[in-house]
Subunit: 242 residues, 2 copies
């Protein structure tokens, strides 16, 4: 059944009616050729709304909500992925794949070894694109939320913003195994991943001061876009979500 | 230190001398501008050879082997990834990333829902390309072997060729968690992954008859190129290799 994420303003009549306008309305009417009586699922913030179309026009779709319930597909652990900005389209790949695997929030940040340094305008364009990719991936993978991609921030701001139960930083030179990080019974985890070339020692030291534990990722050298996907998959496994 | 995979014929004098010809010799002499006295690591079949250049010409590099020892980077478990042929360049991505993560062998095969169906010539070209990608990824990630990519085979031939201790098939409709598959103390595992759209029930039944256990990959729908990377990462974690 077609599935759409909706904004708060689409929920009317205390959640008994859903009104869709704009691109999604055109998509439902034109592309999917849906008609009154057809069924859809809407999703907002971890809640699913089984709905039936009651009215449809060129610009608006009105639906009755038959049933609402918490999305089953959301992982039990909230994983924040802090990713140093890599080259070319790797950030897009990382956002797409970590969203499928269940990341809750993605924080792009600048580290000393980052090669690309977007200006303000470039950063705004990227952020818009990143959030669009997160939304697409959330739709395709059946997520209950769209992971927020935060604005690109400094290493220090990224560290200051961490509030998870467990805080990890991927560091090739040393660290514990992810299996030893005590993830299984925790509600939230933040994992910090480097761009090409990883981190400077002083960055790792700052992260340690902020309560982050270095983790080891095996004896093979992972590409910077492989590391966050592998870590997300392993954390989802260790927390019983994969 | 530069690191090259070598063929058996490069090992001379019962392993005390290494002779490199062809593209690698040009790479060492021209691109890297190495000279007699410079040190290199050669690698073959899980053994590393610390070597010193003794002679170098336009077409040949001769080295003395100082020390040879088993590569430390090889995982303790031999993972065979059987991957149904996906669309576009996804197979290349899968080979690259599973090689980094430690796959031992990759077997592309045809399943009922495969969209591309290369002819014999196309399949040969693909195989050559796939093996080149495995070699590149093995070099970059510091592997001790180059994972072999087998010729594209039928579903039945793929099943008939499995000899691992543990045999798994990724199936979205049901299955056990990978954590329950008993991977931790095993020497070898084969995991079968579908292309876009997954498997037909009758394919899963045939796989079960061949001793394969269906595994579940969480409540989110993974893209076909994300699934093998996630599974490889989790198996490497469960076997103590990540």
């Amino acid at each position: 059944m077609p599935r759409f994420f909706i904004e708060q303003k689409s929920l009317r009549g205390h959640g008994s009616i859903i009104v869709i306008e704009g691109a999604d309305a055109r998509h439902i009417g034109y592309s999917l050729r849906m008609k009154p009586g057809d069924k859809l699922i809407f999703c907002r913030d971890g809640t699913e709304y089984d709905s039936t179309i009651t009215k449809i026009s060129e610009t608006m779709v009105v639906c009755d909500v038959n049933k609402s319930y918490p999305t089953e597909s959301e992982p039990s652990i909230k994983l924040t992925l802090c990713q140093a900005l890599p080259k070319s389209d790797k950030m897009e790949q990382i956002i797409q794949k970590s969203t499928e695997l269940g990341a809750y929030r993605i924080v792009p940040f600048m580290s000393e070894r980052c090669v690309i340094r977007p200006n303000r305008q470039g950063a705004e364009r990227k952020l818009e694109r990143y959030n669009r990719i997160a939304e697409e991936a959330a739709k395709q993978s059946g997520r209950g939320i769209i992971p927020e991609v935060a604005p690109i921030m400094s290493f220090e701001d990224m560290l200051a913003g961490i509030s998870s139960d467990i805080r990890l930083i991927c560091y090739e030179n040393s660290g514990i195994s992810i299996s030893e990080a005590g993830i299984d019974d925790k509600k939230s985890v933040t994992v910090i991943v480097g761009a090409e070339g990883g981190f400077e020692q002083r960055e790792v030291d700052k992260a340690k001061d902020a309560g982050c534990v270095p983790i080891w990722l095996g004896k093979r050298i992972l590409r910077c876009e492989t590391c966050p996907v592998a870590v997300t998959a392993v954390i989802m496994n260790l927390s019983g979500n994969l």
